[in-house]
């Protein structure tokens, strides 16, 4: 565990952010079909403008570029720098899948608090609808999954969900409530891909993809990008009246619970990551005004509620049942709709969830703004481990005061 003097608590702030519209890139509807690079540039410009910066404020500073699933650029960081015309003094290229946004923030915080740079532009974009499905898997995943009939993440998360349901009595109505409430939130989010509400019946009647995973448990893949700018805390108010500070961070990748012999597939590294983040922040889980967990599947939201400590392990279903998880409820969860209802821009790193967390702490949540929002928890998860669950687990605790 990190020593207190290595803590990132209050050292850095997000001073600007931007999110492009997301799209299914339907040519028949006249929607543009842009490249990865255009979304990257667009998001960077939005964040720069939002922070009130110009390029000179970002030049000779840090740059974080989340690895996209399309194009597979071998040198994605410097190619992004070339597109943006930035000379950089610190390059971060997270390959953390859905944890990349939170990891960008943390690695930017380390670089800034070490005095290497004063600012880091963190950008993530993807355009799977433009390029087609070009996900590449490493040898051991490719060779021991696809020939055996594994249909990507829905198959692997179906195995996790079935186990969770039988081990703890989790019901479809529990994951269904997450789907319905997140959709309610999406309808209030102008940037969300889905514009109309769903009911529990819609959820229960939606078609099975990999039973027990239904269509409405899954994300809608979109093209899009988002970015944010991190500075040292001392200069944050020079750029914005609404800085959002990093209060805690924790990461736990490739965890084996309780051991590497037949591990329990229902336990996530979020458990250790959230404990580390809470310790750094010197806060309790009950201090959180929101929870913005990375959501590739509804069961992942439910399991993270447990492993982050909002309820006991196995009681996520009951917790969701009795808790108002809407933006004005007891524990607001994925108040922008999450990826499941706002859309997932390819492998764009979990920025959807982090951006909503930033927005809420700036009191910019419009019709879905959480009252008196001061502190919240955002997670990032990614990569599915064979016979377990996600491999990448990161947790950030954010606040609008230090």
């Amino acid at each position: 565990m990190p020593k207190q003097d290595l803590s990132l608590r209050g050292k850095i702030a997000v001073v600007g952010y931007g999110e492009t519209p997301v799209t299914r890139a339907r040519k028949d509807k006249g929607e543009p079909r842009l490249t990865y690079w255009e979304y990257l540039s667009w998001a960077a410009e939005l964040a720069m403008n939002n922070a009130g910066m110009s390029k000179k404020d970002l030049d000779n500073q840090g740059l974080a570029v989340t690895h996209p699933e399309v194009e597979h650029p071998l040198f994605v960081g410097v190619e992004a720098a070339e597109m943006l015309g930035l000379t950089t003094r610190w390059m971060i290229t997270p390959s953390h899948g859905g944890a990349s946004a939170v990891v960008s923030l943390a690695q930017a915080a380390v670089a800034i608090s070490s005095g290497i740079v004063d600012r880091v532009l963190c950008v993530a974009a993807d355009a799977p609808l433009t390029y087609g499905d070009t996900v590449m898997l490493t040898e051991h995943r490719r060779d021991f999954e696809k020939p055996f009939g594994v249909m990507g993440p829905p198959s692997l998360f179906a195995l996790v969900m079935e186990r969770h349901m039988s081990q703890y009595g989790t019901k479809f109505e529990h994951t269904g409530k997450i789907a319905v409430v997140q959709r309610d939130h999406a309808v209030m989010n102008p940037n969300a891909i889905f514009k109309s509400k769903i009911t529990m019946d819609d959820y229960l009647n939606s078609r099975m993809i990999a039973n027990p995973i239904r269509l409405l448990d899954t994300v809608m893949r979109v093209n899009g990008g988002s970015a944010f700018i991190v500075t040292k805390a001392e200069e944050a108010r020079k750029w914005t009246e609404r800085p959002v500070y990093l209060l805690g961070f924790g990461e736990c990748d490739n965890s084996y619970y309780p051991s590497n012999v037949l591990p329990d597939a229902t336990l996530m590294g979020i458990k250790d990551a959230s404990q580390q983040a809470l310790k750094m922040s010197n806060l309790k889980i009950s201090d959180m005004d929101y929870f913005q967990p990375y959501d590739d599947f509804t069961i992942a939201v439910l399991m993270q509620l447990e492993d982050a400590g909002f309820c006991k392990k196995g009681e996520g279903g009951k917790f969701v049942e009795k808790t108002d998880i809407s933006f004005n409820g007891d524990l607001p969860v994925n108040t922008g709709g999450g990826q499941i209802s706002a859309g997932q821009p390819g492998l764009a790193g979990g920025n959807i969830n982090l951006t909503e967390g930033i927005r809420q702490l700036r009191n910019e949540g419009e019709g879905r703004q959480i009252d008196n929002c001061k502190i919240g928890m955002v997670t990032g998860i990614g990569a599915l481990q064979y016979g377990r669950n996600v491999g990448l687990n990161s947790v950030a605790i954010l606040g609008n005061e230090v």
Binding site: A210, V261, G387
Partner: protein, 150 residues
């Protein structure tokens, strides 16, 4: 379009994906061809692991024995696959099928299809037995119920 991505080709012409036989996993594939389910076992610490890896996940040493599994195990979890996503359209004709995580007697977990199983009977803990199927010069492992269903 990546050679590993989903192809837009006509399902009737599509082929199921074949594994690339990596040097560190080749004893496994030699085994399946002979009707053996081989598990990597660390020479230093005895840890068993699946799928094959380039290091022992318990001690990080690199020398392995290969032990022959009994092929017997129990279902840890299962899913009924209803749609082809992120894989070859050649699987279309097999739908729906059961995919399961199976805990073998050797204390390793393997993901494979369960066949010849009554959909009303499949459950966690069910005993299953491995068999092998040639998919084009390479054999993969599938499982079927070990005991006759009452």
């Amino acid at each position: 379009m990546s050679k590993f991505g989903v192809s837009a080709e006509n399902p009737s012409n599509a082929k199921k994906p074949l594994p690339y036989v990596a040097s560190f996993s080749s004893p496994f594939w030699e085994g399946t061809k002979m009707g053996e389910l081989r598990i990597q076992s660390c020479k230093s610490c005895g840890h068993k692991q699946f799928p094959p890896k380039s290091s022992c996940e318990s001690c990080m040493k690199r020398d392995f024995d290969w032990v022959k599994s009994t092929g017997s195990g129990r279902i840890y979890s299962f899913a009924s696959i209803k749609e082809v996503v992120m894989n070859s359209p050649a699987f279309q004709k097999d739908l729906p099928y059961f995919l399961a995580a199976i805990d073998l007697e050797e204390q390793v977990r393997i993901i494979a299809q369960i066949v010849e199983c009554d959909p009303n009977q499949i459950r966690e803990g069910m005993q299953v037995k491995a068999f092998f199927e040639d998919i084009g010069g390479i054999s993969i492992v599938k499982f079927r119920p070990a005991l006759p269903i009452a």
